[in-house]
C-alpha cells in the first residue's frame, strides 16, 4: 500500500492561518511568593528562579525557591489549619468551600487555560478543553462527597489523616493540583502542595482563588521550588501522608525516605502503555486513538500509549494511515487554536527525548517524522514514530515522556498479552477491536490500572486512576480516591 496523495498546484493556498488565543488579558506578577497560612509570604532567604515560556524561552515571572524553614512554616500552618479549623467543620461546610473553588476555576477558566499553555507549552485546545474543565469537575465531584463520606465507607468509622504533603508534576499542572487537593479537602485533611519548578504559575493562580474563596488559613499551602523542596516535604515529621505524581525513580526515593515512618503514601508514577490494535478494529478510528494516545500533550502523559502493538496482518494499513495522519498534525505555537502539538516543557526534557530518538536510530528501528517547519526559538519535537521495534530495545522498554511512538507487531492474542505485560510499568493500556469478547479477555489479563477499549486518554473524576507494579499504588478519582485520604480502621 502506498501512502500517496495526489499532488496539486492549489496545495499552498490551504496553509493554516495563525489563530492565536489572546494573552492580553493575562496579568502576571513579576514575582510569586509562597502561599502559607492563607497569605502570600516571601521566602526566609529570598531566593527566586525564573519560569519561562517553553515556546519562546522568554521569562514569565520569578518563582520563589522555598527553603527548609519555609517548608516547616507551611507544614505548621497546615497543622494549625487542620486542628483549629478544617477538622472542626462539618462535611457540609467543607463542601461549600470546595464548590466555591470549583466555580471560581470555571469563572476564570479562560485566563487559567492561557497561563497553563504559556507556562507549560501545551496547546490551548487541550488546556481549554481538557485541563480546565476536568480540574473544575474534580473539585465539583469531591465537593459532593464531603458530606457523604459515611456512604462511601458504610459501617466503618473513618477519620481524616491530618496534613497531606502533595507533590505534582509538570505535565498537567493545574489538573494534577485539582486531583490532589480536591479529595484531600473533601476528606477533611489540610495540604501542603509543591508544584513542579517549570510550571508553578497556575498553582499560584489557584492560591489566589483559594484566598478569594476565603478558605480558613492554612487549609491549603503552596510551596514552590525544585526537587529539594519536595524532599524537605517528604522528610518533614509533621506530614501524615505523601501523595506524589512523577517519575518512578523519585517515587522509589520517596518510599525509601518514608520507610519506617507512619506516613501513608500514594504514588502515581511512570508508564509504558501498550496500545493494541487488532485486525478487526475500525482502523481509521484506531489511528485517531493512536495519535491521541501518544501525541496528546506532546506525549508528556504518564499513561501515554507509547507502545503500539499492531496485529501483523494490518500493520501496513495502520502504519500508512498513521503516517498520513501525522502529516496533518500542526506543530507550533501553543496559544494557536489550530495547534495539535505544542512546545516540549523544558530544555532538559527535550534533551531526554532527543537522546531516546538517537538511541532508537542506533538500535536500527525504522524512524519517521513528518516534515514541518518549527519555530526558531523554543523547545520543539516533531511527532515521531519508530517501526520494527524489538521488545528488547530500549525505546520499547523505557518511558520517553515525549511524542515518540514505538511500533511492534503480534500474531496471536496470547502473544500480545505477554508482550503488553512484559514491562516493569502497569499504568494503562488500550485495546482496539470490534469484538467485545476480545476486549474482556484482554482487560482481565492486562496488568494495568486503566484499560481503554476503542478509545484512549479518557478521563473523568468519577473513574479511579492508578497503577500496577512500578507505576505506583493507590487510586485517584472516584470513590477509590477517597480511601487514600481517610483512616479506615
Amino acid at each position: 500500500m502506498n501512502e500517496t496523495t495526489p499532488p496539486s498546484a492549489a496545495a499552498n493556498s490551504w496553509d493554516w492561518d495563525p489563530a492565536p488565543e489572546s494573552a492580553d488579558h493575562i496579568q502576571l506578577n513579576d514575582q510569586y511568593d509562597l502561599f502559607i497560612g492563607g497569605e502570600f509570604v516571601p521566602s526566609a532567604e529570598g531566593r527566586t528562579f525564573e519560569t519561562i515560556n517553553p515556546a519562546t524561552e522568554e521569562p514569565l515571572a520569578k518563582i520563589t525557591e522555598a527553603t527548609s524553614l519555609d517548608v516547616d512554616h507551611a507544614v505548621s500552618a497546615a497543622r494549625v489549619g487542620y486542628e483549629k479549623y478544617w477538622s472542626r467543620l462539618s462535611g457540609t461546610e467543607r463542601g461549600k468551600y470546595i464548590f466555591r473553588i470549583a466555580r471560581m476555576i470555571q469563572e476564570r477558566s479562560r485566563e487559567l487555560a492561557v497561563i497553563e499553555s504559556m507556562d507549560g507549552g501545551k496547546p490551548i485546545r487541550e488546556s481549554r478543553d481538557i485541563d480546565l474543565p476536568l480540574a473544575a469537575a474534580h473539585f465539583f465531584y469531591y465537593a459532593g462527597w464531603s458530606d457523604k463520606l459515611p456512604y462511601a465507607f458504610p459501617n466503618r468509622v473513618t477519620s481524616p489523616l491530618g496534613v497531606a504533603g502533595q507533590i505534582i508534576p509538570w505535565n498537567f499542572p493545574l489538573l494534577m493540583a485539582a486531583w490532589k487537593i480536591a479529595p484531600a479537602l473533601a476528606c477533611g485533611n489540610t495540604v501542603v502542595l509543591k508544584p513542579a519548578e517549570t510550571t508553578s504559575l497556575t498553582a499560584m493562580k489557584l492560591a489566589e482563588i483559594i484566598q478569594e474563596a476565603d478558605l480558613p488559613p492554612g487549609v491549603v499551602n503552596i510551596v514552590t521550588g525544585h526537587g529539594q523542596v519536595g524532599a524537605e516535604l517528604v522528610n518533614h515529621a509533621g506530614v501524615d501522608k505523601i501523595a506524589f505524581t512523577g517519575s518512578t525513580k523519585v517515587g522509589k526515593e520517596i518510599q525509601h525516605a518514608i520507610a519506617g515512618s507512619a506516613k501513608r503514601s500514594t504514588l502515581e508514577l511512570g508508564g509504558k502503555a501498550a496500545n493494541i490494535v487488532f485486525a478487526d478494529a475500525s482502523i481509521d478510528q484506531a489511528v485517531e486513538g493512536i495519535v491521541n494516545g501518544i501525541y496528546f500533550n506532546q506525549g508528556h502523559v504518564c499513561c501515554a500509549g507509547s507502545r503500539l502493538l499492531v496485529e501483523e496482518s494490518v500493520q501496513e494499513e495502520v502504519i500508512s494511515k498513521l503516517k498520513h495522519r501525522m502529516k496533518s498534525l500542526q506543530v507550533g505555537d501553543p496559544l494557536d487554536k489550530n495547534t495539535d502539538i505544542g512546545a516540549i516543557n523544558s530544555q532538559k526534557q527535550l534533551a531526554t527525548i532527543r537522546n531516546y530518538i538517537e538511541i532508537g536510530k542506533q538500535e536500527g528501528a525504522d524512524f519517521f517524522a513528518p516534515e514541518c517547519d518549527l519555530p526558531e526559538k523554543g523547545f520543539w519535537c516533531r511527532p515521531s514514530l519508530f517501526c520494527e521495534v524489538a521488545q528488547s530495545s530500549q525505546i520499547a522498554q523505557e518511558e520517553i515522556f515525549g511524542p515518540v511512538l514505538a511500533v511492534q507487531t503480534f500474531r496471536t492474542v496470547a502473544e500480545v498479552i505477554k508482550k503488553a505485560n512484559n514491562t516493569p510499568y502497569g499504568l494503562s493500556a488500550g485495546v482496539w477491536t470490534d469484538k467485545g469478547s476480545k476486549i474482556f479477555n484482554l482487560t482481565s489479563q492486562m496488568r494495568a490500572g486503566v484499560v481503554w477499549a476503542n478509545t484512549y486518554n479518557k478521563f473523568d473524576p468519577t473513574s479511579p486512576f492508578g497503577g500496577y507494579k512500578e507505576s505506583g499504588f493507590g487510586r485517584e478519582g472516584g470513590l477509590h480516591g477517597l480511601a487514600a485520604y481517610r483512616n479506615l480502621d
Partner: protein
C-alpha cells in the same frame, strides 16, 4: 471555490417549468451585484425537466444533473429504473443521481444492490453517476461504509449521502466515513471517486469545515467540482453573504440575496 461546487437543486412534487427556469437563471447569475463570481457546478432536477434545464444552461459550463431510479425511495423494478435513467440521459443529463435500494440492503441482499448500481452505471453511458446511499436510513457507520464500498466497486463516479428528503441528511461524521472509503479505494487502485454531501449544509462556515475534512482525508486533488460537490441550495446565499461582507465589511440583510 464553495460556490463552484454547489449543485443547485429543486426536487419537489410541485416543480414547474417556471420554477426550473428560475433555478437555472440563479445558477448562471448567483449575485450580479458582485462581478466575477463563478457559476454553480450543476443544477439538479427531476428527469422530466432535464430537457428544459439543459436548454436554459446551454453554453455556460453548468452541468445538468437528474435524479433517477424512482427517486427518492428507489422502490420500483429495475427495468423501470433503467428506463428512467435512459430517458434523463437521452434528454441531455450530464449527471445521474441514483438512489440505492435500501430495503434490499437492509435485508442483506448486497449482491442485488451491487448489480443494480452496475446496471444503472451502464445505462448512464457518458453521464457521470452519483450514488445516493441515503445514510439517514442506513443507521450505522458500519452500514454506511459497506454501502460506500459497494457503490464504489459497482462503478460510482460520486457517492452521495442523502436525497434531502430524510433527516438526518449529511453530517460530518457520516461524510468522513464515506471519504475514508474513497481514500482506501484510491490507495488500493489509484482511482479517484467523487463525494457529495447533500442536505443540511447551509452555512459557509460549515462548508469550510467539510472542505478541510476533504483536504485532510483525501488531499487537495479532490478540491474541485469534478470530485467534490455540495448538494445544498441554501448554502449559496450564505456564501454570497459572507463574500459581500468580506468586501464591504458589513453584513447585508438576507433580503438583498435572491432566494432562487
Amino acid at each position: 471555490m464553495v460556490l463552484s461546487m454547489i449543485d443547485l437543486t429543486t426536487l419537489e412534487g410541485m416543480d414547474t417549468a417556471g420554477k426550473v427556469r428560475q433555478l437555472c437563471y440563479k445558477a448562471r447569475h448567483l449575485h450580479d451585484a458582485v462581478p466575477g463570481l463563478p457559476t454553480v457546478a450543476a443544477v439538479c432536477v427531476y428527469p422530466n425537466f432535464v430537457e428544459l434545464a439543459k436548454s436554459e444552461v446551454k453554453d455556460t459550463g453548468i452541468k445538468v444533473a437528474s435524479v433517477a431510479t424512482a427517486f427518492p425511495s428507489g422502490n420500483s423494478s429495475l427495468p423501470i429504473k433503467l428506463e428512467d435513467v435512459r430517458m434523463a440521459v437521452d434528454d441531455g443529463a450530464d449527471e445521474i443521481d441514483m438512489v440505492i435500494s435500501r430495503g434490499r440492503f437492509h435485508r442483506g441482499d448486497l449482491q442485488y444492490v451491487f448489480d443494480e448500481i452496475s446496471a444503472v452505471k451502464e445505462a448512464c453511458r457518458h453521464a457521470r453517476l452519483k450514488v445516493i446511499l441515503e445514510t439517514g436510513e442506513l443507521g450505522t457507520f458500519d452500514k454506511v461504509r459497506k454501502a460506500s464500498d459497494i457503490a464504489i466497486a459497482a462503478g460510482a463516479d460520486f457517492i452521495k449521502t442523502s436525497t434531502g428528503k430524510i433527516k438526518p441528511a449529511a453530517t460530518m461524521p457520516v461524510t468522513l466515513v464515506m471519504l475514508e472509503a474513497i481514500r482506501d479505494h484510491y490507495v488500493k487502485t489509484g482511482q479517484m471517486v467523487g463525494m457529495k454531501p447533500a442536505g443540511g449544509i447551509s452555512s459557509a462556515k460549515l462548508a469550510l469545515h467539510y472542505l478541510v475534512m476533504v483536504k485532510e482525508t483525501l488531499g487537495v486533488a479532490w478540491l474541485s467540482n469534478h470530485w467534490f460537490r455540495f448538494g445544498a441550495s441554501s448554502l449559496a446565499n450564505d456564501v454570497l453573504m459572507q463574500i459581500v461582507k468580506q468586501e464591504t465589511g458589513i453584513y447585508q440583510s438576507s433580503d438583498y440575496f435572491s432566494i432562487d
